[in-house]
Symmetry: D2
Subunit: 139 residues, 4 copies
Amino acid sequence: MSHARADQRRRACPTVRVRYAETDQMGVVYYANYLVWFELGRTEWLRETGWTYREMEAEGLALPVIEAHCEYRLGARYDDHLEIRTSGRLVSPVRLAFDYEVVRCADGAVLAVGHTVHATIDRSGRPVRLPARVTELLR
Amino acid sequence: MSHARADQRRRACPTVRVRYAETDQMGVVYYANYLVWFELGRTEWLRETGWTYREMEAEGLALPVIEAHCEYRLGARYDDHLEIRTSGRLVSPVRLAFDYEVVRCADGAVLAVGHTVHATIDRSGRPVRLPARVTELLR
Amino acid sequence: MSHARADQRRRACPTVRVRYAETDQMGVVYYANYLVWFELGRTEWLRETGWTYREMEAEGLALPVIEAHCEYRLGARYDDHLEIRTSGRLVSPVRLAFDYEVVRCADGAVLAVGHTVHATIDRSGRPVRLPARVTELLR
Amino acid sequence: MSHARADQRRRACPTVRVRYAETDQMGVVYYANYLVWFELGRTEWLRETGWTYREMEAEGLALPVIEAHCEYRLGARYDDHLEIRTSGRLVSPVRLAFDYEVVRCADGAVLAVGHTVHATIDRSGRPVRLPARVTELLR
């Protein structure tokens, strides 16, 4: 995927305030919590398609994570205000991925980057294609 | 309930090692995590009755928490080895409670005490009585 | 404290969107997570005094939790939009408490109520009085 | 690194019992929690070197995560008994990695595989070499 394409991809940018619960004794956010923020990013990305993940599940479609990756550059700190910049892309007809950047609002510093890959399955666990209204947004 | 009775109550005493994830930037365990340890305590208490919570749920019985309480005396620290001393008692025919003590194994210090109260419900959410084989252990 | 007083108490009402990470296999939010939301409530209550908890800690004052209590009425669900209604009160010169209601924004249902009690300590762990600018807001 | 080498690498294999808190409404463990188990794996790997992470930190050395990766094959379920097979390797003089397999004890199924990469830093955040007694175990 070229940078030009990436720039054109639709983005969701929810913000979070770092919770005390998310810090550890090193004084920064514990590393697993970035994956929770990634979840918030893709939840908002989906909400903005007009089809929430909650509705998706109610209609029998699920997007289980099959791969997660994160690179940590700078530690997020308690009470930091962060933006979770999120974009989606289709990996195969039954698989999609989201790319994330965790950005500190105060100065624009990129604290972490990562991605997740998801299968698209129905209630019985079988792979299914995403509806066209979603895949159109993933091009 | 008299102390004599309390002493006679059946106890489960699972142990946990404090995880880095459970600490916060104050250098001690974040307060909500004690409730997770309480869950481990009652899970082991139930396992020792010969009927695990997993089986209970599979058979359509659930024990949702309706009240939780914890008093914090000394902070648990990363890598501490702790014992979650747990005993159960019947509050009503359709309600039970568990009492907990979080004890530091190294010196026997009681770091926290607390309790949880649970409804006993069936799959449709209606209150049901616990089977006799469990209530007998709660006397 | 009379109800009249309670009504007059200053409140903070931050909102949260329930995260997938916060649910459990019962399909509702795991009970320990309400204590994390309580933390958000008191963080915002403090922020609105003009003195954030982050600044407070930087200046050497901490508010460790010494007691937490929660009553659960209705389960919060994934993607629910919730308001954490929070008010503070002084319990003693070196101890304060916060009261919380977790309210579902869609219909105003109170899902849970609870409180936390905090010691006010300095860097060495000794009890200290809160500054007047904070205690004035706690009357 | 050849498979022959991998097979010869020293391993730690702590076990965990899946907590209710770790499940989500899909009925399996929430994906971020595997990273918490990875932490348990490397903690035990280090403990078996005779130098715990707790001691390491007390002596001014820290191993912040700079990269985490996980592939999810089968969902872990509540109360599952799991083994976190962990081995370490040196990536550079000031960087080490751990490889993990999450194995279900009941049938040996590999539920997930992953790795983390860590910087080795001193109290001031500067890269430092690990002591020989640790690096010897990483060959």
